[in-house]
């Protein structure tokens, strides 16, 4: 057989029926993750047609987007933002009960943001196809799984048939060589990549991240990178699995056990791009040249190193983005006054992210006038963080320690910023109004976010990390 890319192998292995000129291929889906926002209409469709869920055992649901991040009151009532939000959650609870699907719900120790909780319980395996009605499904690509977001109609298709109609996308290799400098994180790397290839640069492609700098990343860092593939327009991002992947997965609840584990690992080891295989597109990135990076505009491709001047607007539309953000071309983002800091989301809401933020906040205080929310990505992250006492670091610094959920990443549960406020956020989208009408979002790493909370201005974490080294 001719040399194949990792993506080719995943694609080929899931063809129920190959595509023809007149029909797309039928692609089998190994794991379907479901949450409350994009599923209700799909379940209604099943009911209207009298259909069942084909493989409840390959379907896993959680509650995350509309859920409050404040605890239930003394009366046991959860502080939902709206009646609609509460009804939406209740509808998912009813749907999973009716169709026999596992739910990581309110009473589960595993509830969390879908792309944090799924890998954490070991549901995500190398070699799988994984979909979810959520564009950041690409996160699971960190394990060498072909994972992508789908719309609600397709959620219905997968529920009913465990398959999707798909034409094969093109492949795009992102080779990252060199070494990330201290204080520069996986988030800075992916922001840099998006800035380089542009927010439409990956449209129609599946990205594969390769190279020394990618191999050096931990699993959590790899998830951060793959997570934001969609912000470059790509539906999926992949990293070939390796020993780190297997070590991370072993022993998790939904990972294979015993002999099945050994057999699985043997198969997973073949999931690499063959020598001599070609991609449709390739770029090379030098990791050692990357600085802590921040966005300055209204999409994730408008990104600069933290001390670099904001570029002049190329046209009226870019000027509109600068005006919305109230930033001035020629001035750096470092030093801009901060109102809110948000640490969380499926991009940077994992334990290592909270540790990084806590390293900066330990023994320091959030600046006067700054509101800081720390929202763990899952119940598991919350427990682990509390076991290490990270929550005490955050609370002592004056931050709010919340319950798991999407929270200010999408701002549909009531956690949001006020018009005009500047938010330094570890999430993935800085679109107009994403964090509340009129809110201005600067995307950054947990280190930059924490440093900015302390400084009250967008700040370089290396100033704080160096202080520690000197002390």
């Amino acid at each position: 057989m001719s040399a194949r890319t990792l993506f080719d192998k995943l694609w080929d292995a899931h063809q129920v029926k190959a595509e023809t000129e007149s029909t797309p291929g039928v692609l089998y889906i190994d794991l379907h993750m479901v949450h409350e926002v994009t599923s209700p209409q799909a379940f209604d469709e099943l009911r209207a047609r009298g259909l069942k869920v084909r493989r409840p055992d390959r379907t896993l649901a959680t509650l995350d987007h509309s859920t409050p991040t404040l605890p239930a009151g003394a009366d046991g009532k959860r502080p939902y933002f709206t009646k609609e939000a509460e009804a939406q959650v209740a509808k998912l609870e009813a749907n999973v009960a009716e169709f026999g699907i596992d739910l990581m719900g309110w009473d589960s120790p595993h509830r969390g943001v879908v792309h944090v909780a799924g890998p954490e319980v070991g549901a995500t395996h190398p070699g799988m196809t994984i979909v979810c009605g959520d564009s950041h499904t690409a996160t699971h690509g960190a394990f060498g799984a072909l994972a992508f977001g789908i719309g609600t109609t397709e959620v219905g298709h997968v529920l009913a048939t465990q398959c999707l109609l798909q034409r094969k996308p093109r492949s795009f290799a992102i080779h990252v060589d060199g070494q990330l400098q201290p204080g520069v994180t996986a988030k800075d790397l992916i922001l840099h990549i998006i800035g380089k290839i542009g927010i439409g640069g990956g449209t129609g492609h599946v990205l594969e991240y390769t190279g020394d700098a990618v191999r050096a990343l931990s699993m959590e860092e790899r998830m951060t990178v793959c997570n934001m593939s969609i912000e470059a327009g790509a539906r999926a991002g992949l990293i070939a699995p390796d020993e780190k992947t297997f070590a991370w997965l072993e022993g998790r609840e939904r990972a294979p056990k015993g002999e099945a584990w050994d057999a699985a690992v043997a198969t997973w080891r073949t999931l690499t791009t063959d020598e001599g295989a070609t991609y449709d597109r390739e770029v090379r990135i030098d990791a050692s040249a990357i600085q802590p990076s921040v966005t300055y505009g209204t999409h994730p491709g408008m990104v600069v190193p933290i001390h670099a001047p904001v570029p002049a607007a190329a046209d009226a539309l870019e000027q509109r983005a600068l005006d919305y953000m109230k930033v001035t071309a020629g001035k750096p983002i470092a030093g801009e006054t901060v109102d809110v800091v948000f640490i969380g989301s499926c991009t940077n809401g994992r334990l290592s992210d909270l540790r990084a933020a806590a390293d900066i906040l330990r023994g320091r205080r959030v600046a006067e006038g700054v509101r800081m929310l720390v929202v763990p990505g899952s119940e598991q992250v919350r427990r682990d963080a509390e076991r290490e006492g990270l929550h005490e670091v955050f609370i002592a610094a004056g931050a709010e320690w919340r319950q798991p959920g999407c929270s200010m990443c999408i701002a549909m549960n009531g956690d949001m910023a006020q018009p005009g406020q500047l938010v330094v956020a570890t999430s993935n989208r800085n679109f107009e109004g994403r964090q509340g009408k009129g809110a201005r979002t600067v995307l950054a790493s947990p280190l930059v976010a924490a440093a900015s909370a302390v400084a009250g201005r967008v700040a370089d974490p290396r100033d704080y990390l160096n202080q520690e080294a000197a002390a």
Binding site: V16, K17, Q41, I150, G200, L317, A411, R429
Partner: protein, 195 residues
Amino acid sequence: MSQPLTYVHSRTAVLRDENIDTDRIIPARFLTTTERTGLGKHCFEDWRYAADGSDDPAFPLNQPQAKGCAILVAGRNFGCGSSREHAPWALLDYGIQAVISNEIADIFRGNALKNGLLAIVLSDAEHRWLLDNPGVELRIDIATSSIRLPDGGSIHFDLEPFARHCLLNGVDQMGFLLQQDDAIGAYEQRLEKAA
């Protein structure tokens, strides 16, 4: 379940902005609905209304000449961002039947076509001409994948053959997938054996 769609005939309305994301098309706070309908009134919500809730005249689609237009010509990379199908639902409910750009985000395009909202990608030059000439009357013909211009000329566009077949015949893809039951069953058997 869907209605056959053979053509769209309308004047164009233009939103020149590039990268119009799904949060701008339908802000997340309206995603708590469990229905597909009724989202039109929130389409472009934070862009189209003034602070007092009245129509903001600065929003291009509030201009009198844009009223009733079913064809939206938009800047590059329309529909980027989230996978929310609420975006095409909102546009359709608002009265848009076709979106034309020189680049349309993948997930949005797939979602749109599955709901009978045409998502058409043209060359940069064709797109620029449409951006610069708002209000022209176009007839988009699905069977021939062509757009008839006011001067009688026509532009061809690519439409995935299966999507075209489904649009023209009102075929829904769920029905097609359900017919693949044997092949899916056979695949699952191979899968169990391999495990």
